[in-house]
Homo-oligomer: 322 residues x 2
């Protein structure tokens, strides 16, 4: 696997001017709530509402004209799907997105808004990779993997390069960085980048309570699988991790944490009140871990990646009602 | 009145590193909704959740030690109050904030969180300026006016200097700039700044439908007063404008617009869905005008100032429910 700070830098150069530099935000009220100095990388403000455009667009830009003409496919609960549909539109390709029937509506609408064709599957009876690979074979499409691809991991790593610049500008020295973890693309890229300049920073990845596929994979040294995660935290819902993402994360002293749906609700309300950010449940997972484990982070400077903000209005209103 | 680009630059230098540079955001979906290229200056992400910290802190920093020791007072529906309380805390002063009984709870809590003392008044029977001036005389406090003060207007104008930088970085040439208008502090400062480098930009100020105090004041050339604005759009709820803000805005070809509460609701939902920003009703007024008057802005590049995000969760949930 040729993955590291050099592939991340190359991806960031390719993405320059095409994706947004998202702000690193903070709030004195949030610092009081957590007992830490929390710096929130607001990828919810990224084009398509999540970090996923970084890895997807980096991949689309690396395809040959023939591959783009034939079209691309992604399987996704929604954020990767929107990102691939948008990247396809930006590069003149056609996108087919395989999504679970119960995906948030805002994500389905987002894929279609960007011109992607949606193909639904039933997550209780079908495996999304089987459905996706079937369509790839049938239609001659190129699969844009949601995480287990060096281009995707490197693109997501551009989050980390921005964080490095923003830490320097703010005069901050981080003790920890905390990221939501689904298949591991965001975590592997960002941790690789940030630890290239801050080797002492402690990396944490956050999974759904009861579905710790990355924790188990890091422990056993091989790819482990869990059942499908309940839909609320769909953005960290991958039932497994990648060969490449596991190998990349294994280079670092990663501590896995878990959060419950209620932890995410608390974090979404805190982001609403103190940062004025709309976060989706999975996008709030890292903040949720820092809020739920006050003792662990007390007194530290903690970079928290808020990975996305694509949440249905009805779900968000329910969460605010508490 | 000594107010202009020089006083704004001086204020911006004083505020540098103490307030945030807020992002200028955009969304392809929002551009489709409006038919324009919309660039949203997200002052909702500012410290204290609105632009008000700029003018308040600029004023507090200009006080003598004796004035700071004696304490400051502000009358405010909430955003200016939070800003003055925060600015007082940041400069070692004590703040008394006069607020209407029906102010949004999140704003009352914000004032108290920053260490401000809240004094309520009844907006149906009392005039907030009378209450404020009474306390100033009684306690020997310095009044920090919410808008009609050159230091406040110059501080708010730092929004415009940031917009100029961000337009240049993005390679944008704006046709119009649209701002919410309460007493006119934000509008006068920001329009003065942006038109110093973009003299051809058309400035718009947005008021509550039926309560056009600035429109009437600009037409008559003197300060006009309207009844108290209903609480939903409290952030643009000043019943009058300032001598200084009116004089400053009169230098420019300002077009006043109005929006209804429902226009603001539509804009809040659009900001939620397309930008993932929490906007309060008054903070969405400029975006509401652009959404409601599609024909006026079609095909143009429009800078929209989203002035604040301090909205109670219950109100926000109701707006999302539509």
């Amino acid at each position: 696997m040729d993955f590291g700070i050099d592939t991340i830098r190359t991806a960031a150069e390719r993405l320059h001017g095409r994706v947004r530099v998202t702000p690193l935000l903070s709030s004195p009220m949030l610092d009081e709530l957590t007992g830490a100095q929390v710096l929130v990388k607001a990828e919810s403000l990224q084009l398509t509402g999540s970090f996923k455009i970084r890895g997807a667009l980096d991949t689309l830009l690396s395809l040959t004209a023939a591959e783009r003409d034939a079209g691309v496919l992604a399987f996704s609960t929604g954020n990767h799907g929107q990102a691939v549909a948008a990247s396809a539109q930006m590069t003149g390709a056609r996108a087919t997105i395989v999504m679970p029937q119960d995906a948030p509506r805002i994500k389905v609408e987002g894929v279609r808004w960007w011109g992607g064709e949606v193909v639904f599957y039933d997550p209780s009876t079908q495996d999304r990779e089987d459905v996706g690979h079937g369509l790839v074979a049938e239609r001659g499409l190129t699969l844009v993997h949601p995480y287990d691809d060096v281009r995707v991991m490197s693109g997501q790593g551009s989050v980390g390069l921005e964080v490095i610049d923003q830490l320097r500008e703010g005069g901050h020295s981080p003790d920890a960085i905390v990221l939501p973890c689904s298949g591991g693309g965001l975590a592997s890229g960002t941790i690789e980048a940030v630890r290239s300049t801050h080797p002492a920073v402690t990396p944490f990845v956050v999974e759904r309570d009861g579905y710790p596929k990355m924790a188990r994979s890091l422990a056993s040294g091989r790819v482990e699988t869990v059942p499908a995660v309940p839909v609320f935290l769909d953005a960290i819902g991958s039932p497994t991790v990648g060969q490449h993402t596991l190998a990349a994360l294994s280079r670092h002293p990663v501590t896995p944490l878990t959060v419950t749906d209620d932890d995410a609700r608390v974090a979404m309300r805190a982001a609403f009140r103190t940062l004025k950010l709309v976060l989706e449940p999975g996008g709030s997972a890292a903040l949720a871990a820092v809020l739920a484990q006050r003792e662990r982070f007390a007194g530290q400077t903690v970079v928290v990646v808020a990975s996305g903000g694509n949440v249905d209005a009805s779900v968000y209103a329910e969460v605010l009602a508490g």
